[in-house]
Symmetry: C2
Subunit: 324 residues, 2 copies
């Protein structure tokens, strides 16, 4: 399922598989440590079930890679791990609430029963709420005290925006609003191509884009990036976030339950508005190719020359070519 | 329904009705200002519906009164209003999620249809999530920049603890766990009186106590209280929070839909474990009387002598004697 072949000179000296394995281990260890609560036991079990169930950790990896674009490769990453954990907790809570019968009503996630199927709807709902709070508590409590309080406050504020009504939650609401209106959009005039594309982008920009953008921005910000670097990395994150979502939509269309770990074909069945359901698979692949080119161009810009951008480049390719 | 008559010398010179009216107005104005979001419109309408529906604002009033115990009466309260708004938003989100079919399945709240009855379950769920994030965003963004960042970070951290698994959400889970086990508890030995009381207190300490305690502590903390004052005010908040909940349980048992604004008699019907369902109304009234005495004693202690504690005293009486 390697959809595109790109050549990147940095690949030669950079072992992405080892890189990603090592960082995933750091993230998993820290997450387990942050989720060692005991009372009430069923609440914590439910929280652990969804956070520690072995996701891709793409958002946390992006946060670290973005930080490493500023501080360089193989530096101590401890200061960034609470931020990574906060991002992964918020991602996990969004999946728990998304899967509830009131929303997507999904039975499987990452090849396992969804949280409410195991713990019941009430606990799943409350575990999501508790994870939102634990994310911010972790970010504040575990980030080293050497980090400037004003900077950390600003990162917390941005996390709330990326997660709430202006970001992820708002995107979920738009997604709901357009679900079922797929036929209207498909039947609209050919001259409305741009309106269609803009509609899809607006939904995705909130639903998945906001947290991915936050991950990239906050990692660099905590690493001391300047505003020029932050703007470039945010632009890159926009491309990657959108590509990630279109790849997700393609997987929903072409994947199967075993490799995907969740029920495929749901977008079309529930008339969700995605790049694939509106424009078809071929156009989706073309869009992905363009987004990859644009993302690479940003990382190759003169302002980021000499920076350690190899991990971000590999993560962009990974987001596009993954099989789950 | 004035259950107890107490005489307080400060009442003579302190007009509680005017005090509470003025501060409620400050809180309502600020809340309306903080909830002026527009996109997606149904999400923001749902958030406004529950936050701006005229609650008692007891938690926000406690926060202000606690601050005023430190800075004195009739000082500028602007710096405390974002904190008040954050607390009220979190309280509102807890009611939205609590009322959902997956939890209490309530149709009425404050005499109006519950959020999910108006906006649907999906939007109600997401509005709760968005309010959690908006609460913290508001606290960080709108608190004056003159406030020390380290202090504000610590207040945000405490708010997350009070709201999440160690506080409100954890209490809701315990409440669920004991619901239906009322008969077991009622039938246990008379020697288990202390176990019964401790069980109820543990549930309440999380479910309603944690946010009330946070309101009192954070108001004083932002006002510059020292650790001795904070400890005393926290003890006071424990008494008030517990009294507030027992008064709530009594109202559930004796109130009616019109004055109460929500369906009464639900605790007994759903076998909820409360002071009233376990020990009966008479003992609940005695417990309330004791809590009021203990709360007053703290405010009258020598360490708080000369402080402006009249508003807190009145709020304690109000929490106990209210009719809704």
């Amino acid at each position: 399922m390697n959809r595109m072949q790109t050549v990147d000179s940095s690949q030669i000296e950079f072992n992405f598989a080892a890189y990603i394995k090592e960082r995933r281990q750091l993230i998993e260890n820290k997450l387990a440590h942050c989720l060692d609560g005991k009372i009430p036991d069923n609440l914590w079990d439910s929280m652990r079930y969804s956070v520690l169930s072995g996701g891709k950790r793409l958002r946390a990896l992006l946060c670290l890679a973005s930080a490493e674009a500023i501080i360089g490769l193989d530096e101590d990453l401890e200061a960034f791990l609470p931020l990574c954990c906060a991002i992964e907790m918020i991602h996990a809570m969004s999946l728990i609430h998304d899967d509830l019968p009131a929303l997507d009503n999904d039975d499987y996630r990452r090849g396992k029963l969804t949280n409410h199927k195991v713990f019941g709807e009430a606990i799943a709902l409350l575990a999501g709420d508790a994870l939102l709070m634990l994310a911010i508590e972790t970010l504040i409590e575990k980030t080293p005290k050497t980090i400037d309080s004003g900077l950390l406050l600003d990162i917390v504020r941005q996390l709330c925006q990326a997660t709430g009504a202006p970001g992820m939650v708002g995107g979920q609401v738009l997604d709901l609003a357009f679900t079922g209106k797929l036929t209207d959009l498909q039947n609209s005039n050919a001259s409305d191509q741009k309106i269609k594309a803009d509609t899809i982008e607006t939904i995705h920009r909130g639903k998945t884009g906001a947290l991915i953008k936050f991950a990239v921005r906050s990692g660099a910000s905590l690493a001391g990036a300047n505003s020029k670097q932050l703007t470039l990395l945010e632009d890159f994150a926009d491309k990657l976030g959108y590509a990630f979502q279109i790849a997700d939509d393609l997987l929903d269309s072409t994947g199967n339950l075993i490799t995907l770990g969740k029920t495929p074909g749901k977008d079309q069945a529930s008339c969700k508005v995605t790049w694939v359901t509106v424009f078809g698979e071929k156009q989706a692949l073309e869009k992905l190719q363009n987004l990859e080119k644009e993302g690479m161009a940003i990382l190759n810009s003169s302002e980021l020359a000499g920076h350690n951008t190899a991990p971000l480049k590999e993560l962009l390719k990974y987001a596009i070519n993954r099989t789950n």
